[in-house]
């Protein structure tokens, strides 16, 4: 157990700092800011700081996994305000899938454009009557000659309106449930595709519905083989498991909560001086500390080739609960500003409140998206505690005993 970095890593950090000091922000660049950033990123890839998991032949820096280096890179890029690895879906999820399951041709075609940001992706898993139940997919793809003909509807596809490709689960085989599903890439820029943005309760429209009406995809755009879509998609989901991203985010939220509590007055005193509130914030601090070091432990074990601990399977739900605890403190501090979509109107010093209201609604999204909290509890109960799976839905409806409700 050692939280200090070895000299090798300290040296790595020093070199990285020197690199950042030299190249970020980009100075004296003739082109647009975007071009300047792109140039910086090319340099960072060259120096093996970015796209570490992508092979060189596709433009990555092809480094062995090293969560310490990832941590150092993340910390130092944050400190410098430099653009690190893009976090959007294409890069976080598609590239690993293509690297594991894709054909050589698929990798060559999709990875470079994805890395440069030219190809933006949207995920097509959920359907109106399926929700988290991916095995209930009803969108079909039929092979006609050398084209898949796709019909059906996807929902909750993030940012599909600005994406070029969709990685979709579609039903290609006659087998029932998840046996008949394939992982198919679909070009969204074609006549058979209609995209409708879904307005969220926050007023934003990040999610989309995507309608396929005889949309087409080349026969060889199935990833991982026909009927293997279920397995391929589970690979992807595993990549959702991030290391410390959420901990940094919580650090920031707690800091902002402290500012809010310091700026708020209650009964003539600073709210932050009230013992009950201080305790609540310390409890949140304790949970963040627990998250950070539990993740360190599990990732250290993985890095050492040991079976990792149970924490990473619980991380999402623990995060959800912690976020909600923060919200409960914040909403009391906001007081009258909790009434407003853009609070602080007409008062000074509490502009930050704007984001708290968004936060208050968005933490519902956290509870719902990426596997609802109840699904997380099933996972913990079944995978961590080894309790039996529910069979309620597995049973044909006619086989379910019924009894009149009292």
């Amino acid at each position: 157990m050692d939280l200090s970095y070895s000299p090798e890593y300290e040296q790595y950090r020093i070199e990285l700092r020197e690199f950042l000091a030299a190249y970020w922000p980009v100075r004296d660049h003739a082109g647009t800011p975007a071009e300047a950033t792109a140039e910086f990123q090319r340099r960072a890839i060259e120096r093996e700081y970015l796209f570490r998991h992508v092979p060189r032949k596709y433009g990555g820096s092809e480094q062995a996994p090293d969560f310490l280096k990832n941590e150092i890179i993340r910390e130092e890029f944050r400190r410098a305000g430099a653009p690190a690895d893009p976090l959007h879906m294409g890069i976080q999820r598609i590239i690993p899938v293509l690297l594991q399951w894709g054909s050589e041709a698929q990798r060559d075609f999709f990875i470079p454009g994805t890395m440069t940001g030219e190809y933006y992706w949207s995920q097509g898993y959920s359907e109106p009557d399926a929700g988290s139940d991916l095995a209930a997919v009803r969108t079909t793809a039929k092979l006609v000659g050398d084209r898949w003909i796709v019909n059906g509807q996807k929902i909750w596809s993030s940012n599909a309106y600005k994406a070029r490709f969709m990685n979709a689960l579609v039903r290609t085989e006659p087998e029932p449930r998840h046996c008949g599903i394939s992982y198919l890439i679909i070009d969204l820029h074609q006549p058979g595709v209609e995209i409708r943005r879904i307005r969220q309760i926050t007023g934003e429209s990040e999610f989309c519905e995507v309608f396929f009406n005889d949309a087409q995809a080349p026969a060889d755009w199935v990833v991982g083989g026909r009927g293997n879509g279920w397995e391929v998609s589970r690979t992807t989901l595993r990549h959702e498991r991030s290391g410390f991203g959420s901990v940094y985010w919580l650090d920031t939220l707690l800091r902002r909560l402290i500012v809010l509590a310091t700026d708020t007055r209650r009964g003539g005193r600073r709210a932050i001086d009230e013992p009950g509130l201080r305790r609540e914030m310390a409890r949140i601090q304790a949970r963040i500390m627990a998250m950070r070091f539990s993740a360190y432990r599990d990732l250290s074990m993985e890095a050492a080739g040991e079976p990792s601990g149970d924490y990473l399977q619980m991380q999402k739900l623990y995060l959800t609960d912690t976020i909600y605890q923060i919200d409960r403190v914040a909403r009391e501090l906001l007081a009258g500003d909790f009434l407003l979509a853009t609070p602080g109107e007409g008062r000074d010093g509490r502009k930050g409140s704007v984001k708290w209201i968004e936060h208050s609604l968005n933490n519902l999204k956290i509870a719902i998206a990426g596997g609802s909290s109840n699904i997380q509890r099933n996972i913990i109960g079944e995978r961590v505690l080894g309790m039996p799976k529910d069979f309620v839905g597995k049973l044909p409806r006619e086989a379910r005993p019924t009894e009149a409700v009292v």
Binding site: G131, Q200, F207, R331, G336, A369
Partner: protein, 359 residues
């Protein structure tokens, strides 16, 4: 002694339910949420015609001489319906004049308030952290006021504004008065928009018994918001129960999953007992005044907290659809946010109740 609704009270709720249950009302609520209208003016007219705001007004002043219990029962139904009408401001303004006006003032305004011919609202808080009489800083000098009030429940054409004044009294400002400016605020609850109001040497009529009336009005605000919260929470629970009975995932409807059944049972467990609480608070307002403030504070604090927690859980149980604008759940979620924060948050109200109890 009995603690149940009498036949008239049941008929009152039934009548209001019939009014708000019209499919046109649902369409209009959606239109308001989508920004196509500010209020449901048809509903407003129907409520006025029904005599809603005359409920607590004496018969000789054009009302029906009933009590806050009856008004709270209406508030419950409107809360369940998510009704986009400026009920709160009108009701509180009426109560303010009723309890604060001298004979002339009551005669001048109450008949109009009761019929809805005079629309009105209340302008109380001056900053985000305070609501009550002790915090009001706008002083009436020579029958004029200058200053700013925020989080004022708005109505399309408010004719009267009841303004909280320094010293804890109340003033009446007519909207035609000079030096008055009303600006919309960006409220989170689109069914109950808010405004800020600027006064610049604006003429004011001070209510003769304003200080006593202000305390009564604050109690009534708590009761009416608690009633709204109970109605809204019950409605969301019902919606979610119905959704759980039909929505199928992984081969079973949600309601067949014990975990979800228990989550909804826990929501019901928190919501249902608050009915007795807001009933008592409403009852005490008129008939057990020594306990009125304590009951009002506790009712608003507990019920609005329960409403917000329930709304979150119910929205969550709807999954992705619950997070969409198109689906109605967020209307009540945001009404829950309003009920939570307007007139002071639960923390604040619980604290005041503890002070009242002299612990």
């Amino acid at each position: 002694m009995n603690f149940r609704l009498n036949e008239e009270q049941r008929q009152l709720q039934h009548a209001i339910r019939r009014i708000v249950g019209d499919p046109d009302r649902h369409r209009q609520r959606r239109a308001v949420v989508d920004g196509a209208a500010n209020y449901d003016t048809t509903l407003w007219c129907e409520l006025c015609e029904f005599g809603t705001f005359g409920i607590v007004v004496p018969e000789d002043l054009g009302g029906s001489g009933l009590k806050l219990v009856e008004l709270a029962l209406v508030a419950e139904v409107l809360g369940a319906a998510g009704a986009p009408v400026p009920f709160l401001g009108q009701a509180l303004a009426t109560i303010a004049v009723l309890h604060g006006g001298d004979d002339d003032q009551r005669a001048r305004w109450l008949p109009g308030l009761a019929s809805g011919r005079i629309s009105a609202t209340v302008a109380l808080s001056e900053d985000a952290d305070s609501w009550g009489p002790a915090d009001w800083r706008i002083a009436a000098a020579d029958e004029h006021i200058t200053g700013r009030k925020i989080n004022v429940p708005s109505c399309e054409h408010p004719y009267l504004l009841i303004v909280g004044l320094e010293g804890g009294g109340l003033g009446v400002v007519e909207s035609t008065a000079p030096g008055l400016q009303i600006n919309a605020m960006d409220g989170i609850d689109l069914t109950r928009p808010l405004s800020s109001v600027e006064f610049d040497r604006t003429p004011v009529v001070v209510l003769t018994h304003g200080q006593a009336a202000a305390r009564r009005m604050m109690d009534a605000a708590c009761v009416l918001l608690a009633a709204d919260a109970f109605g809204g929470a019950s409605r969301l629970l019902e919606m979610t129960r119905d959704y759980a009975l039909t929505r199928e995932t992984f081969g079973a409807v949600l309601a067949e999953r014990q975990a979800i059944k228990h989550q909804l049972a826990n929501v019901a467990l928190e919501v249902e007992p608050t009915r007795g609480l807001f009933w008592f608070a409403a009852y005490a307002f008129d008939d057990w005044t020594e306990r009125a403030s304590e009951a009002a504070l506790l009712a608003k604090a507990l019920t609005s907290e329960v409403y917000l927690e329930s709304a979150r859980m119910c929205t969550e149980l709807h999954g992705g659809i619950g997070f969409t604008w198109e689906f109605d759940a967020h209307i009540w979620l945001k009404r829950a946010m309003f009920d939570f924060a307007w007139g002071a948050t639960p923390d604040h109200l619980f604290g005041r109740a503890a002070d009242l109890a002299e612990w």
